[in-house]
């Protein structure tokens, strides 16, 4: 059974801190890994990773994939209260249309 596990499930930090969110996976035939941010409503896309070791970066957010160890991390530096959200990791599988999601990490940034 395809499985995606995120850790921690919940994280509370102070504004300005750096956080690292983890996503590990066990799937039959890996195609890509995606990160989403979910505030009050719909998940919004952050990154898609297909190759090991190549960092994707957008402002204070960055992510990297390790296909040998089957995990990805999402880093957020100099956190702001607007970064408070649920961060979702999903894996796209070869030969299938679906995305398999992890449980999400609820990140809270306190001022």
């Amino acid at each position: 059974e395809d499985k995606v596990v995120q850790s921690p499930l919940s994280l509370v930090v102070h504004e300005g801190d750096t956080v690292t969110l983890n996503c590990s996976y066990e799937v039959t035939n890996f195609r890509s890994l995606l990160w989403y941010k979910q505030e009050k409503k719909a998940p919004t896309f952050l990154f898609m990773l297909t190759s090991s070791g190549i960092e994707k970066k957008s402002g204070r957010l960055s992510s990297i994939l390790d296909k040998k160890e089957l995990f990805s991390i999402l880093n957020i530096t100099a956190t702001q209260t607007g970064d408070s959200a649920i961060y979702l990791c999903a894996v796209s599988i070869q030969g299938a249309q679906k995305l398999v999601f992890g449980q999400g990490t609820r990140l809270t940034i306190n001022p």
């Binding site: 195609r31 998940p43 919004t44 896309f45 898609m48 979702l88 249309q97 679906k98 995305l99 999601f101």
Partner: protein
């Protein structure tokens, strides 16, 4: 450009009633999906569709029915609603399998 529109945004229904959640996209993406989101479970796939008239079961399909007679619409029907189907339902689309999925705003369904 509306993208994906889900309706209704909120719905309260009684146990045993049939209810249909609508999903409409303006992009002509091939792939459409229905997920439910519950605390502690993340997003779980209910049904998906690769094209008009092609649908397939996801992880939690029991109690749900879908159809896709037109590319742009993918309604989800709860044939006889149960309290365990109280959830937030998200519709999503993908253009190809190498691109990200886009999500609708969600429908919060409460079954009483």
């Amino acid at each position: 450009d509306a993208g994906i529109t889900q309706s209704p945004r909120y719905k309260i229904t009684e146990t045993g009633r049939q209810v249909t959640l609508m999903c409409h996209q303006t992009w002509s993406h091939s792939y459409m999906f229905w997920y439910r989101q519950d605390l502690g479970h993340g997003l779980r796939l209910i049904y998906y569709s690769a094209a008009a008239d092609i649908t397939d079961k996801g992880e939690v399909p029991d109690g749900y029915v879908v159809s896709r007679s037109k590319t742009e619409n993918f309604p989800l029907t709860l044939e006889s609603a149960t309290r365990s189907q109280t959830s937030v339902y998200f519709c999503a689309t993908r253009d190809t399998l190498n691109t990200e999925a886009f999500f609708g705003q969600g429908t919060r369904l409460t079954v009483v």
